[in-house]
């Protein structure tokens, strides 16, 4: 298995939001990916990419403390708060919920669930999250009646209501049409700049992530590959190129015009894969 970490630029230590040190993820004591080192800092957008079954979900659940670590460590400085945006289907449509209530839930943290009402400071955070995500027109609607794009904005507002330092999004644009996908990513990049958030974006949509991420984590459990580093370096890595070079060259990324030209030249497979 191949694991590499290349981190560019030294940032102030205070800006560190999450650090993985020799992190091995897997099930029980069985690793599914090699050890990986990386640090997420304030203002950075990390994309976690890989095919279905690549280990993305296991990695991000491990980073969030929802899944046991096989080896290594995840450090999170005291006081760093995480806003989690789950996949939209995680919220059961059978559960009756008004959008306003769902967003307000995001302001709850720790022992605040023992208090039946929201405090003034929490209410102010909720109001800011609603304004930032432009979800005012949706507040009186039921969550299950919303479109996929609207649901995504509501879940984003819910995560922002907790005033997070680090935002973690799990496949935020799955099952969205191209327009909704574009709007969701535009909103995310705008909020990242406005609120100076660290962002960890998990997606199997390489074309999308490669255009907006500063740093990439490329995972492939089949080949035992975990690459972490600046997006251009990961996109140009031969290990990455073997898996994704042809995909990028064939235009998946062209759906996302960007100022950064994708490193498709360097990412073309150097040797044909069996059956490719």
């Amino acid at each position: 298995m191949s694991g590499r970490a290349r981190e560019g630029g030294a940032a102030a230590r205070d800006d560190v939001l999450l650090r993985a040190r020799g992190l091995v993820v897997g099930f029980g004591r069985t690793p599914i990916l090699p050890a990986v080192d990386f640090t997420v800092r304030r203002g950075e957008l990390w994309g976690v990419v890989g095919r279905n079954g690549a280990g993305k979900t296991t990695l991000f659940r491990t980073l969030l403390g929802l899944h046991g670590i096989v080896e290594g460590a995840v450090d999170r400085p005291a006081g760093v708060t995480i806003g989690y945006v789950p996949q939209r289907h995680v919220l059961d449509p059978l559960v009756p919920a008004r959008t306003a209530d769902l967003i307000a839930e995001g302001a709850e943290r720790g022992r605040s669930f023992l208090v039946p009402w929201l405090g003034a400071e929490a209410k102010a955070r909720v109001a800011r999250a609603i304004a930032a995500t432009r979800t005012e027109p949706l507040l009186d609607k039921r969550y299950r009646d919303l479109s996929e794009g609207e649901k995504q904005r509501v879940l984003l507002a819910r995560a922002l209501a907790g005033a997070p330092d680090l935002l973690v999004l799990d496949e935020p644009t799955s099952a969205m049409d191209v327009v909704a996908e574009r709007e969701a990513i535009d909103a995310l990049t705008r909020l990242r700049e406005e609120l100076d958030l660290g962002v960890l974006l998990v997606s199997h949509h390489l074309g999308l992530v490669s255009q907006v991420a500063d740093k990439l984590l490329f995972l492939d459990a089949d080949d035992g590959v975990a690459l972490a580093g600046p997006a251009d370096e990961v996109l140009g890595d031969p290990l990455f190129a073997r898996r994704y070079g042809a995909v990028l060259a064939d235009g998946e990324a062209s759906r996302w015009p960007s100022s950064r030209p994708p490193a498709v030249g360097a990412a073309r497979p150097t040797e044909p894969e069996a059956g490719a």
Binding site: G65, P86, V90, L91, R98, E105, L114
Partner: protein, 297 residues
Amino acid sequence: MTPDAPAPTLRQFLDAWELFHDPVVAALVAGGVLGWLGVYIVLRRVVFVSAALSQAAGLGVALAFYLQSAVGATGLAGDPLACATALTLATMLFVSRAEDGRFVSRESVLGAAYLVGSAGALLVGTKIRKEAHDIGDILFGAAVLVTPEDLRTLEIVAAVVFVLQVGLEKGFRFASFDPDGARIRGLPVRLLDAALFTSIAVAVSVATRVLGALPVFAFTVLPAMAAVLMATSVRSALVIAGALGAFAGGAGYVLAFLRSWPVGASQAAVGVALVLGAAALRATFGAVRRAAGAPRA
């Protein structure tokens, strides 16, 4: 009731109120608390957990009677409530850990637990001559006689469960419907889940001992179904389901008297009527909204 006998009247029921006071209050209390808890059971899609629990409680009561008559057991081993609670908690622990495996699904495990409870209660019941009718009451819910001690126990359990439910409502809600998000936000999800399912297990076992398995299962499913059809939030669903559960318990008892029906079946019938009424209300409301141009709810 013979075919020629006049049907009982509400007046007769009210005249004999002293006789019916305890069972009606027991039905109101059990219906209310189980209706509230039922929202979690229905929305977490663990309906057959409550079925398995009520049968386990029935088996516990039957075992207690058997131990009393066969070996002269006294103390906790011969106490129906203690045995029902112990078996219900053990079943709760077992079924709550059941997951879909490679060879056996979670549903199958729940089905097996249900069958062990129901068949076990019937088998043990055949070994007890003296209390055979009590076993029938437990399984099918005659609930005609409720002793003051039973009612007192039920009231205490309901009060404790209600205080816990109101106090930790937000925690139970978050832990139930978005457990990952709740964990990330620092909520003790496992502790909250344990408290919720222990509440359910204890309430089901005590109510089963007092009213019978059939009405208990009905109270944990039907009022919550009706409430979810009408409510706009989990919080309002909890309140509506509690109220509907109490109504099903009380109205079902009165209906059983008036129609000479078995009490448990009558309470379940009222519950079904509530679900149908809620579905009709929802359909009507939806049609009016659509006619007014609002999106489909």
